[in-house]
Symmetry: D2
Subunit: 387 residues, 4 copies
């Protein structure tokens, strides 16, 4: 009889948790797998919604917590935090003795997980490789691909890119993106009645009738353009102010440069009367899907605009370079950092209305597919370019 | 008038210094460049020959020293050391404000340099990417390629591989390998008369007449096969013992697993009478070239067998998987970890004698070529896969 | 002719800067000293008012910045942050080669400075040792005393305690507390007209006429009573709410446990209408002195109540154990964490009114006294108990 | 029914293990205690005899291993190593949740244990405080005293000093030194027949008849006199060479500066013929006691000369400042770093011969005494000076 495989998943941020949750659930349930859950970085911090507490509420047991974010929110502390995380994870992997380590996507801290597993001779699975975006994430994602032994990618195009980079085709699996699983389930089994949004989540700013249409804004800083973050966010702020439509604004998650963005929002809020905007810090991902599902338009540069909104058919205004190169559906309108363009594009999308659902990033069963593959992947860590 | 570019080169081991020295010299002399020299990891340690002292004697000024090797010599400490190095280098780069960071080859600690430069938005130049080897180096090397912005590679085949991995062709330059520069100069201007070898370097073991032919052994542990290191080295030790020919044996440099190898050598030496073997810890690289040049055969798994010995025409027995996949000349005979095979192969090579020089890894001007390119490379750090 | 001494002062928090500023100024001006200024920990962080920016505005040059606060605000991250700071400061001291290191008071991060200097064989000067307080600070302060070579203490009683702990009497100097220098100067040369307080500092909450009397609240969490922080702050919040007098409330600075306090304040603010309270995050220390000088009563557990307010004669309500054991003047009323007691005590102090100035913590020339001593202190680092 | 107390003992070096072993044994056996064993620093390293392997052979289970020694052996790496250890131990204590942490003596790394326990609000027990020595150990030891909540000291004089430093008398217990327990047992139940010494331990150098009298040398570098280490050891080397008596020489353990000492020994050995000296790296502590017991004289600066040799009655030549201030018996002759004095003193001690046993450091039951106290010590972590 075969031993259960210890599958260690390292979660470093709340959005990564949402994205991988259906896979975590399926791994936990699988008879041939034991889930080892490591929660690290901003996923442990109050200001980013303590994803660890959410996980526990949702029935997961956390095996290790890794504090690794050095305060400062600049490129120096991003580098140092990653170094600390790498040093800390070596202790964790040494204690937990996983058979496989799973890392997700391309946040800067994921490099700590990837290097640590590789150096400790533990097979590494990378979820969501092979995609194309702007900024430092691009370097991180493909470097993790070169450290990983097995690749679970979201789209056939992503699989093609991973293989072209020299990875063995038999180690690349198109599983779809697990974030679509969540979107599918959230639509089928809503956990939030949109009318009770403010009551449920509080937040800051005046309240309005969300059943009559609203915008959603979520705009993150773009790491390698550190000093421009503030100017970027201000263009969006001005556009939203001028549009004067009901708007739900979500704070950005941690990143080098979030500082410019956060400061920009705070300053704008103090200097302008914004009775039509309501600010939220965190929201259960299922509920956020509900909010997107009923939204007239998502504005910003979040990847949910590209992924989940393709599935949902929600119109999207994608600002700037952050999502450049990602495969996208009809629902996305790309523009630059100019308030006029932003205003114009939003009005156009509202006029168009909802798009049909697009299965570009999956059909909602990625988590189960991943769990089904994990007991069977080859655990060899010897790699070589295929060319 | 253009400003000089600050070129920060991070050296983490004595062999890396030897390999890059001609480039360091050319950068230092170049009117448009300022060399910033960071010495780190085993290059600062007594047991690995204090490369920093060698550099100072050879006229270089060291800008920063970075202690980063956590003792233990196992996969846990390799991972932790890399994490510490990353955290430390962030301070160094913040102080020195380089315009370009240069990292060399594929040792585990080079990942610290590469990630740090990438995360701090400093253009990264990788020297010696695109090659194929066994072990963890393979993962490190290609991951560094994906973090790097410009690539200086040794061979046209390496250039082809880097480009196939999705790097922009205009960012890939075939410079040849700077280690060949050293070999060329060492042959043209010998700094060691081979007869005075023992007198100059001491070492441990009895002395013999090196003008009548000798073997050279240099065998490093193979990281991902940690526990087998000792068995591997013992096969070579037995073979060399049985051959009973004059042999110069060089200690391996630091690496996770060096422990098994070093322990193996020490134990063997205590339990056997080995009057025909002389052990060395360190040697000036020029002098080591001289030793290789006059050697009947190099035995082990060092990359000098593949690179410098191609140029020198020295016969090589390459044992095991460490150099797998590297482009090699006629002079190399590949075999496994069996004492009989080792003995047989050595005898065959001695019978064959010296090979003609092969320019596979360059013609001896790589350092100057690198320095000439550095003032002109594009400093943009935005990357995207070419496919 | 004697060389100038390099005096390296490590500042880890904004209040520490205020406290030592007059000494920094005097060191900078002294012909026999060179000031080396290292800014670290919360003194670099936005949420704690970027003391580094304040220093630069006030004419100081910062030699090194040390990011060391690991986010999490719990005992684990306090310990880890101190460890990281120690590792980082070793690099800094190695670069700057100070003749003397100066550390201030008893914050948890000061242990990093003290251990680092001791281990690197650099003479350590401790400012403000020998005092008695509650909580972990007590352990830190006296441990730093045992690592320090020279002691600049605030009061004769503190000197006596340091000597009784086994330090050599000739190494203990009563300089007074430099924070009194600032208080003296702020009173003599006001930089803030109290009427323009809101205009100058903004802050959050409604505005009122400060010329008609007001309370000041500043209450920090008490580290070793981590979980009680929230209950403690709520008692004070309820008391202030019931009193319904104009109140200026200052946020606590970083510390393990600040979380409970901050969360408590935020939640209370959301659940209650508090039109008579105005919240400030940061204030120039001179201006804060002005605010204290004109205040009817200071409420909380800040050491300014003990030190500066003695000099100013401002009535103080000191809550809980944080300042236990500190020598205090007539102006301080000590009470526990009960809203009723707080209310009663405040009313009593308002009825009493201003106290006469008390020179218990110095007469306002401590900074100059410190600078005058530094060129002459013995630099031997050999210590031995005197008994 | 009372819960068992988790007692976490952190061992950072092989000699510390030997010293505390009888207490570990007694804690392990005690019905009200659970032993949590953390092995760290040089106790994990090959070059210092892998104390962790010894512990496992002797029946202990190791709960956590903490790699923390940064290679370099200079004051910078001592400071950095301590910082890393502090960061690592925070993870360990968070995992193990000890009720009490025990730290031993005064090695530089013990500060990591002490600060970590204090900052994580875990009661700290310090074994062997209150003693007086030279060098940096002095600062470390007393700083640990100020961080500790309970003190188990070796002698009444040590207790007096700890109390005079301001510690509460009811928290100070004279237990005797556990190293004497080992000495007592080693004498009563010898594990080594002295005639089989070379056979059992190998070592380097020629062999001689140990039944006819021999010297033992053990000399450590003195940390704060870093650069003089080499000169110091050379005086002893010359003295021993001139004496030309059978000598067993033991290598020093890790410490900043060990470099000068080790290099000195190695160089001397290469340049001189030393047929009467045999070098050992490690020895089971019981066997080392046996070696001391039969020795004519111990030479060097080890604390065993002061402690165990008092009990054994072995004559001791104590060189230099390392043991200054320690209470010592009649058996110790103190001298400086001059070969002539060393020679003369050794001859005098050999002439005198064995001294009577002295119970200055205990009577051999310290371990049991410590284990009996641990279930009953007060776990409060609130401290205050007693004056």
């Amino acid at each position: 009889m075969a031993m259960k495989r210890n599958v260690c998943v390292v979660i470093t941020a709340r959005p990564s948790y949402s994205r991988i949750r259906s896979a975590l659930e399926a791994i936990k349930q699988h008879p041939d797998l034991t889930l080892q859950l490591v929660v690290a970085a901003s996923a442990l911090l109050d200001r980013y919604g303590r994803a660890d507490h959410v996980m526990e509420k949702e029935g997961f047991t956390i095996d290790r917590r890794v504090y690794m974010i050095l305060e400062g929110e600049n490129p120096i502390t991003s580098a140092k935090s990653t170094g600390l995380g790498l040093a800390e994870l070596a202790t964790v992997f040494s204690d937990l003795q996983p058979d496989v380590v799973v890392t997700i996507a391309d946040r800067f801290e994921t490099m700590a997980t990837a290097v640590c597993a590789a150096y400790m001779n533990i097979p590494l699975v990378h979820v969501q490789g092979g995609e194309i975006t702007g900024s430092i994430d691009e370097k991180v994602r493909h470097a993790v691909t070169k450290l990983a032994d097995t690749h679970f990618v979201s789209t056939p195009k992503a699989a093609e890119r991973v293989i072209r980079m020299g990875e063995r085709p038999d180690r690349v699996h198109v599983t779809g993106c697990p974030s679509i699983d969540l979107a599918k389930q959230a639509i089928e089994h809503p956990t939030l009645s949109i009318e009770s949004l403010f009551e449920r989540y509080g937040g800051v700013g005046s309240r309005f009738d969300v059943t009559k249409g609203y915008l959603v804004v979520m705009q993150h800083p773009v790491t390698t353009e550190y000093e421009q973050s503030r100017r970027h966010i201000e263009e969006t702020l001005h556009a939203i102010r001028e549009l004067n439509r009901p708007t739900l604004w979500f704070w950005p998650n941690v990143d080098a440069g979030s500082d410019g963005t956060s400061t920009g929002i705070r300053a704008f809020r103090e200097n302008h009367h914004l009775p039509h905007i309501h600010f939220f810090k965190n929201m259960r991902p299922e509920d956020f899907i509900q909010v997107l599902h009923h939204s007239q338009c998502l504005v910003g540069n979040s990847s949910v605009g590209i992924r989940e909104c393709a599935f949902l058919g929600t119109p999207v205004i994608n600002i700037g370079s952050r999502q450049n190169g990602r495969d996208r559906g009809e629902n996305v309108l790309d523009i630059g950092y100019h308030r006029k363009d932003i205003i114009e594009a939003i009005e156009k999308q509202i006029a168009t209305g909802k798009y049909p659902s697009d299965s570009l990033y999956g059909t909602g069963d990625a988590g189960q597919t991943i769990a089904n593959l994990l007991p069977h992947i080859d655990l060899s860590i010897e790699k070589r370019l295929t060319f």
